[in-house]
Amino acid sequence: MSEVVVECTGLTRTYDQDSVPVYALRGVDVSIMKGDFVSLSGPSGSGKSTLLNIIGGLDRPDGGEVVVSGTRLSTLSDSALAELRLHKIGFVFQAFNLIPVLSAHENVEFILQLQGVGSALRRARSTAVLDSLGLSQMSHRRPGELSGGQQQRVAIARAIVTNPALLLADEPTANIDSATTEELLSLLQKLNREQGMTIVTATHDPMVMSYTTRKIKLHDGMIEEDESAVVV
């Protein structure tokens, strides 16, 4: 039986927009298993980014419960949530969000430094990850000297170098061209298939959905469809 990585029960989240309540999530129940490659899709305002942020501990629900790798997020303080993100969750953002003053290699090493990993092990792991993503030639370059696709690959390297239980990607292909998108999706697919990494991505992009093994569609803050593709 497959291990549950994320368990969401009765999640609700409401925002105030000019004193008018906006219901971002209205009772979402979902379980994500180890090795799932999940796309959260739906129109703007459907709640996919809100769900992703709540799973990642960046936002807190008004109601319901989230359990990530056996940890109930509602019981954690802000600093404990930061600790959880640091050790168990990898993030890939739409705008790459690399640290502009650090090189590609340093950006990847950075997260290991935050974890307190020793310099030799840090260097070995970041070099290995950059090599596996074909970034060894540009590891000394700073983000400003890399293309959008290269920056997103560095961001993925940074997200996976800690070997997280869960990789969350929010519109990871929104700022890159279609050729680079395919390349990145193949990379995520490879990580999912070969390393069994659990990946959840919020997306509008049908190409992204075509790569995922499980497609969850949201509408008005509720799950409209949850279908698993047959993996060949």
Binding site: N53, G56, L58, D59, D78, S79, A82, E83, L84, R85, L86, H87, F91, F93, A95, N97, I99, P100, V101, L102, E106, F110, I111, Q113, L114, G116, R158
Partner: protein
């Protein structure tokens, strides 16, 4: 906490805005150089005031007979045993001088003036301004010397010169007036200070003969270091149980007040200069934080703890301040070196005399002052980073990512 990581991030963030931070470094350096070089002038002013005060026959400490200060006459005097030596450790004592000082009237053929007639042992007066003062003619040679030394201004007023005789009238130990003629051995030039008009010197033994007394009216003690005066004062109080023992601050309260004010002026000057600068530093740091809202939010989203975010902002501020302080102190030192020959204040001689200074201001560099400026500046740098750091940790990762 990974200090190396924080340092790396902070340094690179500083280099991110080279022009803005170079301007900030320059502003800090100029302020620190200004404060530290000004401190050398204030210390010079202080040292000059102290030197003038203790050289002006006052010494660091003085022993008087009770009541002498209110009624300065030979009746208020005391005797020293033959071969008396004050029981002061040699590492503290620079020298001591017994004196008689009595009010007198001095007359030339043309003019009459009121003066203080001082009987001195010329050898012991190495502790007073007499040791260094330029003399036209000769100085006194011994306690038996029956000639007098007069100041240049008094000689001008009396319309007399070296070799002429002057008549001095004063009151003897028996309460009767004594009158004697003295030949002028020399005319001392105390750089236009009031000393020239007040003090007339002669040999101590000769003055005792004139007054029919073997007593003295004061002992002046000069120490190697000013801060030693408290412990030595206690020794003198024990030695001269029935006498009045006073330090230079009690004898020259106006100078002492100016001396203390100079200490305060160092802080006032620092606060004025650095406060304005601190606002600039806070402004720059806040701008730096606000420019990096998204980045700081992302760092926190990735798991950077609040204390690391705070540490990064504080470290950036400290690095900026440290570089500015080092360059500023170097600048201050170079300014001090450029003034090492002293500053000629003779154009303001009337004014500087009023505050007990000479017309030559010699800057004095105290390492403690440089350390004080450096530590206070770094303290301000730390304080300046508190608000920006608070702003940085108030950033919510999710809000910042949407920024």
């Amino acid at each position: 906490m990974n200090i190396k990581l924080l340092y790396q991030l902070s340094v690179r963030n500083i280099f991110r805005h080279k022009r803005r931070n170079i301007m900030l470094f320059a502003a800090i350096a100029v302020a620190v150089a200004g404060v530290s070089s000004m401190n050398t002038l204030i210390r010079g002013f202080q040292a000059d005031m102290l030197d003038s005060a203790v050289s002006n026959l006052t010494g660091h400490l003085k022993v008087y007979a009770p009541g002498y200060r209110d009624d300065p006459s030979i009746e208020r005097s005391f005797r020293l045993e033959d071969g008396f030596q004050p029981d002061i450790p040699a590492d503290k004592l620079l020298g001591w001088a017994p004196r008689i000082r009595v009010p007198a009237v001095i007359m030339s053929e043309r003019e009459t003036r009121g003066v203080q007639l001082v009987g001195v042992n010329p050898e012991a007066e190495s502790i007073s301004f007499l040791a260094d003062v330029p003399i036209d003619g000769e100085g006194l040679s011994a306690t038996q010397d029956d000639r007098i030394l007069v100041g240049a201004e008094l000689a001008r007023q009396l319309e007399t010169k070296v070799g002429r005789r002057l008549v001095i009238i004063t009151q003897g130990a028996d309460g009767l007036n004594r009158e004697r003629g003295f030949r002028i051995a020399g005319i001392y030039d105390a750089q236009g200070t009031g000393l020239e008009k007040i003090y007339v010197f002669t040999g101590l033994a000769r003055l005792q003969q004139m007054l029919d007394s073997d007593a003295i009216t004061e002992i002046s003690v000069r120490l190697k270091e000013e801060p030693q005066k408290a412990s030595v004062k206690q020794l003198l109080i024990e030695t001269f149980a029935n006498m009045e023992v006073m330090d230079w601050q009690e004898l020259e309260p106006q100078v002492a007040a100016m001396y203390l004010f100079a200490d305060g002026a160092i802080y006032i000057w620092f606060i004025l200069m650095m406060s304005a600068l601190t606002f600039g530093l806070v402004n720059t740091l806040v701008a730096t934080v606000m420019e990096r809202v998204k980045e700081l939010g992302m760092l926190r989203a990735l798991g950077m703890r609040n204390r690391m975010v705070i540490s990064q902002v504080v470290l950036e501020s400290t690095i900026i301040m440290s570089v500015g302080v080092v360059v500023g102190l170097l600048g201050g030192y170079l300014i001090y070196l450029s003034m090492s020959d002293g500053i000629d204040l003779s154009s303001f001689s009337a004014g500087v005399e009023m505050v007990g200074m000479s017309t030559h201001l010699q800057p004095v560099l105290l390492v403690d002052d440089f350390v004080l400026v450096a530590s206070m500046s770094l303290g301000l740098g730390f304080l300046a980073s508190v608000y920006p750091a608070w702003r940085a940790v108030k950033i919510k990762p999710l809000d910042a990512m949407r920024h």
